[in-house]
Amino acid sequence: MSSIRRRLLAFLLAALLAASAAGGVFTYRKAHEEVDALFDYQLQQMAQSLRYQSFLGAQAIDDPDTDFVTQVWDANGVLMYLSRPRLSLPRLQAEGFQTVAAEDGRWRVYTLADPAQVIQVAQPMSLRTRMAGEIALRIAAPFLVAVPLLGLFIWIVVGRGMAPLTAIARSLVARNAASLAPLPDRNLPAEVRPLVCALNDLFTRLERALKLQREFLGDAAHALRTPLTAVQLQLQLLERAKDDTQRGEALARLQGGVERSVHLVQQLLSVARLEPQALERRFAPVQIEPLLREIVSEHAALAQDRGVDLGVNRSEPLAVQGDEASLREMVGNLVDNAIRYTPAGGTVNVGVRADAQCAAIEVEDTGPGIPPEERERVFDRFYRRPQTGEPGSGLGLSIVRRIAELHGASVSLEGGADGRGLRAIVRLPLRDEHAARA
C-alpha cells in the first residue's frame, strides 16, 4: 500500500541525508585546504628556523610521535642531519613545496636551499587528511544526530496534515450504507475541500436518483394494489358462484381484472425501461406514415368492439429520428385512450402533417374531452380523472410525455375540431433533410 505519509518521510529524509553528505564533502574539502595552508606555513617556518642552526653533533630524535622529519645536507651534498634515521626520504632537487610518495604513505615536503646547505622538512599527508576529516565530522555530526529527530518530526507533522483526510475516511466508513448525508465541509484545508465538495455533490445526485426510484417503486406498488384487489375479489366471487351462469359471469370479470393487471405491469415496465441513454442508442430514422397505419391496424379490433370508427385522415411522407418501438408505444397509447373514452358511434382520426420543422402527429376523438384546466394534470403519473368509468393505470399519458421528451418532442391536448372531443398533438422534430427542404 502506498502511503503519502511514508512516501513524504522517505523523500524528505533522503533529501536531508543527501544535503548532509554534500555538506560533509564540501566541509572536508574546505577543511583540507585550510589545514594544508596552515601546515605548509608551519613547514616553511620550521625550515626557516633551522637555517641558522648548527647540526654538528645534533642528536637524532627518532621519536615515532614526532610527525616532522628534518634532513639537512651541506653544500657538498653530504647529509649532515636526519631527525629520524630509520626513515629515509629522497633528497629533492627542487625548492619549495612538493608532495612525494614514500614507502609509508605520502609526504608533504618543503625544501629550502641556500649556498651553505639544503634543508628539507617533511610531514606525512595522513595527518592533514585525518585533521580535515575530524573537522568535517565535527561540523556534520549534529546533522546526523538530527536526522532521526527530523524524521520523527516529519512523521508527526505529515500525519497532522493528513488528519482531515483520515477524518473523512473514518466518517465514510462509519456511516451506514443508506446514509447519503453530505460530509461536513467547514474548516477544511484548501487541498481537501474539492474532494469533499465533489463527494457531497455525488451524494446529492445519488440521493435524488434514489428518491425518485423509491417514489416510483412506492407509486408502482400502490398502483398494483388496485387491480390486484379487484382480481382477489373477482376470484372470491367466482368461488362463491352457485351455477354455470354465475360462474361464467364471474370468470369474465376475473379475466377483465387479470388483463388489467397485466396491462399495468407492462406499462410499469415500459416506464422503468425509458432510460434516456438506452433509448438514444437505438435512435434511427423512422417513417411516420407507415408507423401510423400499423398502429391503426393494431387497434382496429378494439375500435370495432367499441363501435368506434377509427382511421387515418391525413398523412404526409415524413421521417423523424427516434426509437421506433417507443414511438409506436407513444402513439399507440394515445390511440388506445381515444378509443376507450369515445362512446360508441364516435370517430377517432389519426394523422400527421408537417408543421414548422416538426412532424405533428394528431390523434383526435369525438369523446367527452378533458376540460382545459385538467389537460396538464392528466400527464401526471398515476393521475386519474374522476368518473371516467374506465379502469386505467393512470400511467398511459405519463408514458406518452416521457417518450416525447426523450425525443425532444412536445405533446399537448386541445379541444376537438368543433369544440367536441379531444385532440392530442405530438410535435416531433423532423430529420435534417426535411428541415433543409422546408
Partner: protein, 221 residues
C-alpha cells in the same frame, strides 16, 4: 341492512357490491365524494364503506364533512394506503374500522357485521330475541330448537325487524333495506318473504299491523 359503498374503481366497486349482496346486504354504490354526499343526504344508511383515494373530494374530507354534519353512521375505510400514519388519520378522522386493499370479501363482510353489531349494542355475534336466534354469518334462524336456513332476502328482512322488536316498519322501509340501487323490486316480494319466514319460524314471529306495516312482537314466546 343498507350499506353505502364509495369506491371509484369500477372493478372493485362491482365486486364488493356483488359480494356483499350475496351476504344479504343491500348495497348502493357511488364512485365519487359528491355522489356519496348526495346519497347520504337522501337516505339513512346502516353503514358506509369508504375508499380514501377518491377522485375529486378525498375520502377523509368526505368523512370529516359527514361527522361535522352530525352523521354518525359507522364508517369502514377501504384503502390502498397501509401506512400506520394513514390508518391513524383515518380512525381519528371519525372512521370506525380500517381495511387495507387487497382484502378478503369474507373478512369485509365479517367486519361489516361486527360494526353493525357494535352499533346495535350487542356483544354476542348471534341476534337473540326471546327464544328466537338469528346468526348473521350463516343466515340461520332457530326457534325452539328448530334451525332453519334463510334466504338472503328473508335474512335481511328478519334482521331489520329484529333490530327494534315492537317497532313497526312499513313495506317501503323494508324494501329499502332489501334492495340496493338498480335492483329490481318485485311486487309482493315483502309479503312473499314474510310468508316464508312465518312458515319456517312460526306464524307469530312477525305480526302484521294493518295499513301500517310489520313488526316482531316485543315479547316473543
Amino acid at each position: 341492512m343498507r350499506l353505502l359503498l364509495v369506491e371509484d374503481d369500477p372493478m372493485i366497486g362491482e365486486s364488493v357490491r356483488l359480494g356483499l349482496r350475496q351476504d344479504g346486504f343491500a348495497v348502493d354504490w357511488v364512485q365519487d365524494g359528491k355522489a356519496a354526499e348526495t346519497a347520504l343526504a337522501a337516505q339513512p344508511y346502516d353503514l358506509a364503506l369508504l375508499d380514501l383515494g377518491l377522485p375529486g373530494k378525498s375520502g377523509l374530507d368526505l368523512l370529516a364533512a359527514m361527522r361535522r354534519a352530525g352523521n354518525g353512521v359507522p364508517v369502514l375505510i377501504l384503502t390502498a394506503r397501509d401506512g400506520v400514519a394513514d390508518r391513524v388519520r383515518g380512525l381519528d378522522g371519525g372512521a370506525d374500522d380500517y381495511l387495507v386493499k387487497p382484502f378478503d370479501l369474507n373478512e369485509l363482510a365479517a367486519r361489516v357485521r361486527a360494526l353493525l353489531r357494535r352499533r346495535g349494542g350487542r356483544a354476542e355475534p348471534v341476534i337473540r330475541h326471546g327464544a328466537l336466534t338469528l346468526d348473521p354469518v350463516s343466515h340461520e334462524a332457530s326457534r325452539a330448537g328448530r334451525s332453519q336456513r334463510l334466504s338472503q332476502r328473508e335474512f335481511a328482512l328478519l334482521e331489520a325487524l329484529l333490530a327494534r322488536p315492537g317497532a313497526v316498519l312499513s313495506r317501503a322501509a323494508l324494501e329499502e333495506r332489501l334492495y340496493g340501487w338498480g335492483e329490481e323490486v318485485e311486487s309482493n316480494s315483502v309479503e312473499v318473504h314474510i310468508h316464508n319466514l312465518r312458515r319456517k319460524l312460526g306464524a307469530d314471529v312477525i305480526r302484521n299491523v294493518r295499513g301500517v306495516g310489520y313488526m316482531v312482537p316485543k315479547n316473543l314466546p
